[in-house]
């Protein structure tokens, strides 16, 4: 296990210095999504829905063994094969052995953060299997050889000009082509991949324990198509992602959609309850791999276990003034923003993950956004205290990150900022030039906070 602490500070400083365009793109995308979320919450009784969802998810966690057994039985009864994987390596090994046994050479994928967490793509590619991401944003990232910068919008950090250049080079679209032309080129290219695919790999937004149903939410239709055309569907699912009853999805999925994008419901929802059987189309086999990878350890830590209630909507990322400056790359693993910062010490271990919990102002914007009411700022505090108790706070390191975080919250307070910079200059090092540029910048992330 890697116990080298994630060097968030250097990565954030470098990104701010070298890629002001990324900051601009992320700020624009996240502010827009934050507005959409507020609109989405406004047309329901969002307080009551969030109470409901919070209670539902905590009930599941407190009975996780029961619901996992029930889900396992219901899935099997539907003809879905169920596998259990202790960690990332075991999950990749399970997928690889399915591929080998069934002669799979071409895999298409739906966007899955769990797949990023366990680094499934490199494992498949090392075995000579062709892997194609089919979510448009994820496909862009794959072409560019990058990592997702946001759990919902993997390419939120990519300015249009970069996508245009990438598509011109890789798909032969004309320079400066309109987004609709780029999308048409991707559609054509990826359609061939769908039709030639042996296996579709997805995550899952939830599994209903009573009916053994896999729920998947998306906007493009790539998940629906891949789970139709490939002969094998494999869903890699964290052990925490259960709901007791199919009907719970009636409230959970609209709440998730509103939190993520402000939509009343994601444009496409798939409820998968088995292989095709006697039906005309669809996969011959459906597999669910339940993945632990540190989750049962986090579950055994009562003060932090509520982290596992997360439904991965990304709302806390959009609400976070620190995340909005850089996007997810400086966090250097699958999950970023407030949820990434509290999952990192929980799943990767305190030694490796503690630095991310420093990257926050504790302003509470994430708490106010979270559809399942995870006390994110409280959990950030908890991990900071634990880091301090373990003697992990390198002198100056954590205060410097926190000062940076405070600046992120109020970039307009120039005088305070210059004072802070003076005080923390020895620790900021490379942060100083980008910060001063940022303070003078054209696109200060200001907004009316009273909306």
């Amino acid at each position: 296990m890697n116990i080298e602490p994630i060097d968030y500070r250097t990565a954030a400083a470098r990104l701010l210095a070298e890629r002001p365009d990324i900051r601009e793109a992320i700020t624009r995308a996240t502010l827009a999504k934050e507005d959409r979320r507020r609109e989405g919450y406004a047309d329901i009784d969002s307080e009551a829905w969030r109470d409901w969802a919070s209670r539902l998810r905590r009930h599941v966690l407190a009975n996780l063994d029961y619901y996992l057994e029930q889900a396992g039985r219901a899935l099997e009864a539907n003809g879905i094969r169920v596998h259990w994987a202790e960690d990332a390596q075991a999950t990749c090994a399970t997928v690889l052995s399915l591929c080998h046994e069934r002669g799979v050479r071409r895999v298409v994928k739906g966007k899955s953060m769990l797949s990023e967490e366990i680094e499934l793509n490199p494992a498949l590619e090392a075995a000579g299997i062709e892997v194609t991401e089919t979510d448009l944003g994820e496909y862009l990232i794959q072409l560019a050889g990058e990592r997702p910068s946001h759990i919902i919008g993997p390419a939120y950090h990519k300015p249009l000009s970069e996508s245009q250049a990438l598509f011109a080079e890789r798909l032969g679209t004309p320079a400066g082509a309109e987004p609709s032309a780029l999308a048409a080129a991707a559609r054509k290219h990826l359609r061939q991949r769908f039709l030639a695919a042996d296996m579709m790999i997805t995550g899952a937004n939830a599994i209903a324990a009573d009916t053994g149903t896999i729920a998947l939410v998306e906007n493009e239709g790539n998940i629906r198509i891949g789970t139709t055309t490939a002969r094998i569907h494999v869903a890699c699912v964290g052990i925490e992602k259960l709901v007791p009853r199919l009907t719970d999805l009636g409230t959970l999925l609209p709440l998730l959609s509103r939190a993520a994008t402000g939509q009343r419901l994601g444009n496409y929802v798939s409820l998968i309850s088995g292989p095709r059987g006697a039906e005309p189309e669809g996969p011959d086999e459906v597999h669910v791999i339940f993945v632990d990878n540190g989750r049962s350890r986090l579950l055994a830590d009562p003060p932090a276990a509520s982290t596992l209630a997360c439904i991965r909507c990304g709302a806390c990322l959009n609400a976070c003034p620190v995340f909005r400056q850089t996007g997810g790359h400086p966090y250097q693993w699958a999950y970023s923003g407030p949820i990434g910062a509290v999952l990192a010490p929980g799943l990767l271990g305190l030694e490796r993950g503690w630095t991310l919990a420093q990257a926050s102002t504790l302003c509470g914007a994430c708490d106010a956004a979270c559809p399942v009411r995870i006390p994110l700022s409280g959990l950030l505090r908890l991990w900071r205290e634990r880091a301090a108790q373990a003697g992990l706070e390198a002198p100056g390191e954590a205060p410097a990150i926190r000062a940076y975080a405070r600046l992120a919250r109020r970039p307009h307070r120039f005088h305070m900022a210059t004072r802070l910079l003076g005080r923390f200059a020895p620790w900021f090092g490379p942060l100083v030039p980008p910060l001063s540029r940022w303070l003078r910048g054209r696109t200060l992330p200001l907004r009316n906070r009273n909306r």
Binding site: A48, W49, D51, R55, P159, A183, R264, N267
Partner: protein, 192 residues
């Protein structure tokens, strides 16, 4: 589940406070689901038609279908709702035609059953969906209650054309699924 994992999870879970299953969340009351379905679908980028009777529906269909060269039709669509177009495999057809099992007014969602064939719902660039008024429900919880006793291999919930904002934050339609979705209300059908 391996005994090890089960034991580990059981021991961890039992230490957590259990608030119990929550009572249902409050649901807004919708008075006119039919009108709302149309409004929401249009907001989502779909098209909505409400012909006054079967003859008008047929006339609309013939005119609409004249714009296409080929179609793929779900086996649930009765002959009276199939235009006189050449059929083609779903991979090639210009138009897909299907019959929704249910529709959800609140989100403008059509619920499609995999037993009618999934490819015609997804592969053609245009998708025409028929819906009977009796199969329109107010919200998603109501829909799931009706669906739960009879689940096919896959249910697809479609709330409008395929969309993405991954290219510089600009919304594009038809990126994978149909870029054009037309929903037409019909009178009750004879059981097939």
């Amino acid at each position: 589940m391996t005994g090890d994992l089960r034991e580990r999870i059981r021991r961890a879970a039992v230490e957590l406070e259990d608030p119990g299953l929550p009572p249902p969340a409050p649901r807004p009351v919708y008075t006119d689901p039919l009108t709302r379905l149309g409004e929401r679908l249009v907001t989502n980028g779909g098209e909505w038609h409400r012909p006054p009777d079967q003859a008008a529906a047929r006339a609309w269909l013939d005119e609409f279908a004249a714009g296409f060269a080929s179609m793929t039709v779900s086996k649930n669509v009765p002959a009276s709702l199939r235009p006189a177009l050449a059929t083609a495999p779903p991979e090639q057809a210009e138009l897909g035609i299907g019959l929704a099992r249910l529709a959800v007014a609140e989100s403008g969602t059509l619920i499609l059953d995999s037993r009618e064939g999934r490819k015609s719902q997804l592969l053609p660039p245009t998708h025409l969906i028929w819906i009977e008024a009796a199969n329109i429900v107010a919200d998603l919880p109501a829909a799931l209650e009706r669906l739960a006793p009879d689940l096919p291999a896959a249910l697809g919930f479609h709330s409008g054309p395929s969309r993405s904002a991954d290219l510089g934050g600009i919304t594009v339609l038809g990126v994978h699924g149909p870029g054009r979705v037309i929903v037409v209300l019909i009178a009750p059908l004879e059981p097939l």
